[in-house]
Amino acid sequence: MPSERRAPLALKLAALGGLLFLHGPILLIFLYAFTTEERSYQFPPPGLTLKWFAVAWNRPDIWPPLILSLKVAAISTALALVLGTLCAAAMSRARFFGRDSISLLVILPIALPGIITGMSLRSAFAMMDIPFSTWTIVLGHATFCIVIVYNNAVARFRRLSGSILEASADLGANGFQTFRHVILPNLGSALLAGGMLAFALSFDEVIVTTFTAGQQSTLPIWMLNELVRPRQRPVTNVVAIVVFAATVVPILIAYVLTRGGSETAGAGK
């Protein structure tokens, strides 16, 4: 049987090589955060030091973007959790007219390139004379975070059997009690996973943000500016590590939360 056979050596090497290709570059970010050379990306680093972490901590220009990023990610995630769950609940309840169009509409913001979402919002703000603010950033982020929550929630709703909802009603619970005591505990981990992924996506987003932020600076925009006009390069690496951790930790949590289910989180970004 083909599936019982051992993999050909070449295939195994190509597959493992591919995985290494995907992970190796990130490690360099960590290495360069400790280099003593601040003007170029010299390899190997001439020396190693811990001072950049202290320098980064004391740089006043890093804190406001970090706080703005956290704020935007938190608000966008909260909005996406509500809207995504509502949408998933409706879509799993019934087949109705326009259902397919709605599912297309939900995935469109991540199916089309980010620049289209960004430029569209930019056009709309310009036409309606809406000034840039935290809320213009949130508007963009929440829009593409909805689908992340939706994907996680809709898979769980599908697994949730209708009979336990009927049982709850038979035992005298009204719709809200059923939601609070039956649906929510069942959805819990899927929503947490979806929320984690949405947070990671928003915290790191740069393409849509550059169009909706105006003069404001989120952490990724700060990083982008540093990449284009570098000052202390290792400081950028320290920030990169922070951004990396802020995206990877939620992903790992989301993975653990949904592991073993048929709908492991993150399968569709």
Binding site: L11, F43, R93, A142, G175, L227
Partner: protein
């Protein structure tokens, strides 16, 4: 107890009763907020984009003229602008082709051979790079490809410095260093979008039933014949689904060519510059419509092949 039916104890119960009698009311209440959000914020903006692409800019005053015209679209056909479109579509095609080749062994191994713990390693191994910070990944390649960076160091270490210089001196795709050449842009695009190709590919390969492979070998096919005539056609929808992602993402990206690449523009960069410093919103909007049109054409093609079942 007052009877067989429990009494309505509060507004919650009365609403539950209403939802029971008219399920459409609950459905409408559930779907309305997300639909309004996506309809107004997202579709509304898309309409604004389209609308604005039919406006034009007054050449003398630099002000936007809000009147319907096809002038802005005609400007896209000017050589300088048309080059940007051709360059971007070419890059997207090459990146997509390379991603298919690189992703296939990984997806194939993960789907057909990896079991148990190895399966989890492959799953996380693809998932983490997919979700981890986009900007950090691009930055990592800036470090790798820089003139004084690790690639140059490694090439000189193994005595291949001349080979690297020869590659860089190639016309068009070469450049001052890897981080300022098309080769660099290409490598980073492939790296960043590769997980988007692996996942749908792996999903479709996992759905190929073993019985079919057994039948194929029972009927005397060699493993190569089985691969070409059974596995590949069945995996095609997944591969097409992956190409949708890599193609679309490359078409719309403007960060990667800005950070790693020559100074020649891609569609995304043109949009960004036109809406920002140049203040030419109509032309920026018209440029942004190009990826939509290209992607729609591609999606129609993909739908014919049945790629959406694999999404």
């Amino acid at each position: 107890m007052s009877g067989a039916f429990h009494p309505a104890r509060g507004p919650g119960d009365r609403l539950t009763g209403l939802f029971w009698r008219r399920p459409g009311v609950l459905l409408a209440l559930l779907i309305a907020p997300p639909l309004i959000w996506l309809g107004v914020v997202y579709l509304g903006s898309l309409v604004a984009l389209l609308w604005q692409s039919f406006w034009s800019i007054d050449e003398f005053s630099g002000l936007i003229v809000p009147e319907f015209t096809l002038k802005t679209y005609a400007e896209l056909l000017r050589p300088a602008n048309f080059d940007v479109i051709v360059r971007t579509v070419t890059m997207a095609s090459v990146v997509t082709a390379a991603s298919v080749v690189l992703a296939f062994p990984i997806a194939y191994y993960a789907a057909r051979y990896a079991r148990g713990r190895m399966k989890a390693v492959f799953y996380l191994g693809v998932m983490l790079p997919l979700w981890s910070s986009y900007l950090v990944k691009v930055y990592a390649w800036k470090l790798i490809l820089a003139r004084e960076g690790i690639v140059t160091w490694a090439a000189e270490g193994i005595g291949a410095g001349n080979v690297l210089n020869a590659v860089l001196s190639l016309p068009v795709i070469g450049g001052n260093s890897l981080s300022t050449s098309y080769i660099g842009t290409f490598i980073v695009f492939v790296y960043v979008w590769l997980p988007f190709m692996i996942l749908p590919m792996q999903a479709s390969l996992e759905r190929v039933p073993n019985a079919m492979l057994e039948a194929s070998s029972d009927l005397g096919a060699t493993s190569w014949q089985t691969f070409v005539h059974v596995i590949l056609p069945l995996a095609l929808p997944g591969i097409i689904a992956g190409t949708i992602f890599t193609f679309s993402l490359t078409l719309g990206d403007y960060i990667i060519p800005q950070i790693v690449g020559s100074s020649r523009l891609f569609i995304g960069q043109a949009v960004y510059m036109l809406q920002g410093t140049a203040g030419n919103l109509p032309l920026a909007a018209a440029f942004a419509v190009i990826p939509i049109v290209v992607m729609l054409a591609y999606l129609v093609f993909a739908r014919r092949i049945g790629a959406f079942d694999a999404l």
